[in-house]
């Protein structure tokens, strides 16, 4: 079946749903690179007008990648909750947009609706929304997850402490961790991107992280962001809190990452069996990002934002503690400038939250993108308003191992201060006990004799 819309004498035709979604997408370089974007401003709005009239039930009838060919499609359709969907099943995409912004769609209604929404529905409605709408609706969503602390509560902003080092030197990593903790970061996770994916190095880092956490009784979780197969390999000999994996929105994209749903299931069950969480069982950590499917030549004719939303269906299946889009990392051939990065981040955060994911965002850019710290400040502030679960905390915003710019510990303090946001409750209490933060959330002066500072000197 085709879709069409006529503007004056021009009749725009869109052969199928994925084409319609691609043409309706706000412009970004990756869709142009894939040859999928609208040919004119008029065609884009015509596609949006046509999309607004598509019934939501159509997304259950017309798979964007054939059911027989793609396990992500099968996951999406097989796990769809028709009961939850009942509330909106009579609506078109356009009607749904208006309803999502209405007062009727409050926090608890949106929470109940989440399992009834497919990623393609979320992607579709996001394409009709302005940035303001993406912020407004996401802010109403609340997705709470737990492991050793409580993440995602309204009025809270957590930080993944990202203490990467060029050679994985434990002392160098510890120095950045201490810096971050003393700046109030680390409640989402203390998560290291290892410079090499060697099992032995991963075990060493996990032991170091666990030792530090236990010694100072820090109510948080740790993670070395190795490949899922490495985590499975070392799980019985090393303190694995969370299992990490990069994922995408098609079976073929996931294959390019060396994973499948069954492998993720195995890792999920393995991590659950370790029973390391004290107050909850969310044991997975996923990263995603627009453009990964095209980069792997695995987008199957879908625009990059729709592919990204489908990755959230994969994530959702494993009840993750954390999910974040690494929005500006991929480079300007997918998201060219600050405007495109900001738009994509708001879409990702919105779609993830609507689908029931504990979304964080790596507010970031590379040096070959048309972006700078001012763009990141804008995006950071917007995401704070939108109720983003967590951001990254990198010393001085400069990741010396991955060579890109993310957000700093200072950025997190700024956002908490200007919006009155607080750390995860258990972590907030710890910060107060450590004399790092006062009861009003203000940073306290740290003395040179603070016991965290003595730690690195004592390390082997």
């Amino acid at each position: 079946m085709g879709y069409h819309y006529t503007i004056q004498s021009t009749r725009y035709r869109f052969d199928d749903l994925k084409t319609l979604l691609a043409k309706a997408s706000p412009f970004r370089s990756g869709d142009a690179l894939a040859g999928l974007c609208a040919g004119s401003y008029e065609e884009r709005v015509a596609a949006q007008l046509a999309l607004a009239d598509v019934p939501l039930t159509q997304f259950l009838q017309e798979a964007l990648v054939p059911y027989e060919e793609d396990e992500v499609t099968r996951l999406i359709l097989d796990t769809h909750d028709a009961g939850a969907f009942a509330r909106i099943r009579q609506m078109t995409v356009g009607e749904w947009r208006d309803w999502l912004l209405s007062d009727e769609a409050d926090t608890s209604v949106l929470q109940q609706l989440a399992p009834g929404i497919t990623p393609e529905m979320a992607a579709a409605v996001s394409k009709l929304m302005r940035n303001q709408d993406l912020v407004s609706v996401a802010r109403k969503c609340e997705v709470v997850t737990r492991f050793r602390n409580t993440l995602g509560l309204k009025g809270r902003l957590a930080v993944r402490l990202q203490p990467n080092h060029t050679t994985d030197d434990p002392k160098g990593i510890a120095a950045s961790i201490i810096d971050g903790l003393l700046y109030g970061s680390g409640d989402a996770v203390i998560g290291i991107n290892p410079a090499t994916d060697s099992p032995a190095a991963t075990v060493t880092l996990l032991q170091m992280l666990d030792h530090l956490r236990q010694q100072f009784n820090i109510p948080t979780q740790s993670c070395v962001l190795c490949h899922v197969t490495t985590a499975l390999e070392i799980m019985q000999q090393a303190p694995v809190d969370l299992v990490f994996q990069s994922i995408g929105g098609t079976e073929k994209t996931n294959r390019s990452f060396g994973v499948s749903l069954s492998l993720l299931q195995e890792a999920y069950e393995g991590a659950l069996a370790l029973r390391r969480g004290t107050i909850g069982n969310n044991v997975m950590y996923f990263e995603t990002g627009q453009g990964s499917a095209l980069s792997a030549n695995a987008h199957a004719g879908m625009d990059q934002q729709t592919c990204e939303a489908r990755a959230y269906a994969v994530a959702r299946h494993f009840k993750p503690l954390l999910v974040n889009t690494v929005v500006g990392f991929i480079g300007p051939e997918y998201l060219f400038d600050g405007k495109q990065i900001i738009r994509a981040a708001l879409e990702d955060h919105f779609c993830g939250k609507l689908l029931g994911l504990p979304m964080g965002v790596d507010v970031c850019y590379t040096n070959h993108a048309e972006a700078d710290q001012d763009d990141m400040d804008n995006l950071l502030t917007l995401l704070g308003v939108a109720g983003c679960n967590y951001i990254m905390g990198v010393p001085g915003a400069d990741d010396i191992m991955l060579n890109y710019q993310s957000t700093s510990f200072h950025d997190a303090l700024y956002l908490r201060r200007v919006l009155g946001l607080r750390p995860a409750p258990e972590f907030e209490q710890w910060l107060q006990q450590q004399g790092i933060m006062d009861e009003l959330g203000r940073q306290l002066p740290v003395q040179a004799s603070h016991k965290l500072l003595l730690e690195v000197g004592n390390m082997k």
């Binding site: 142009a32 030197d169 040096n367 010393p395 740290v446 690195v456």
Partner: protein
């Protein structure tokens, strides 16, 4: 630039363990201005590197001094903006370049073709390509390997070497290219080695030596690694993942 409003961090000593930007201090929740400007300058250097252009004249003079004939080529990407948004175009040569190479390649094949591409930092190429080649050519010539004319490709990505190497009928292509600038490394050079270059190959077919610059991997060490990889590649008739698996020098 230091004022009373700045709260210093009493853990400056931890900087000994990492080059990460720790112990920055703060004013309110903000980074003190001195560091803000230091960061901004580092970003400026990286941005300038991305938009830098190859010093064709200077490089030609330097390479000719090394007895290396030079061909000047261009990718299909017309300018930097197209280069950044269309990686496919940066991987292919334009028609004039293809004609130039076809003429040069018909003379005879060679063991090694050297391709110099600006990549994401022409600054890196301008600074490091000639001194690196000075070291490398000594090794190649001592080993009696034959060299194709060196190609300088403007607006070129790594894979442009596949097409150039194929047209020159080279057994191995070495691509010297400016790497994506980091905040502390606007001029880092990389070498990519591909056996039997031909269009359509992907990263799995290549071996990479990264971070070549005086503050990183020295010219001499980089040349040694490249020469070792090259010999192994010619001996085993392959490159890429399989070569790397047995190569402890290149971790």
């Amino acid at each position: 630039m230091e004022t009373d409003s700045i709260m210093q961090d009493p853990w400056i000593s931890l900087k000994a363990f990492t080059t990460a930007r720790i112990a920055l201090g703060r004013t309110g929740t903000a980074v003190p201005l001195e560091e803000v400007l230091r960061f901004r300058m580092a970003h400026a250097h990286a941005r300038d590197a991305v938009f830098s252009t190859m010093d064709i004249k200077g490089l030609t003079t330097q390479l000719q001094a090394l007895q290396l004939p030079v061909l000047v080529l261009h990718s299909l990407a017309a300018d930097r903006y197209e280069y950044l948004q269309r990686p496919d175009k940066g991987r292919r040569l334009d028609d004039a370049s293809i004609a130039t190479l076809s003429a040069a390649g018909s003379q005879a094949g060679s063991d090694v073709a050297i391709v110099i591409a600006d990549g994401l930092s022409a600054t890196a190429v301008n600074r490091h390509a000639a001194p690196l080649l000075q070291e490398l050519l000594l090794l190649l010539r001592d080993a009696g390997l034959s060299l194709a004319p060196a190609c300088m490709v403007q607006q070129g990505r790594v894979a442009v070497g596949d097409e150039a190497g194929a047209l020159l009928q080279a057994r191995v292509v070495l691509v010297l290219i400016g790497e994506r600038p980091g905040l502390s490394s606007p001029d880092s050079l990389g070498i990519y080695l591909t056996f039997q270059p031909r269009p359509g190959l992907t990263d799995e077919s290549r071996n990479c030596i990264s971070n070549i610059r005086p503050e990183g991997l020295s010219y001499k060490a980089a040349a040694g690694k490249a020469f070792y990889l090259l010999q192994e590649s010619l001996r085993r008739q392959l490159s890429g993942v399989q070569l790397k698996d047995n190569e402890r020098l290149i971790e």
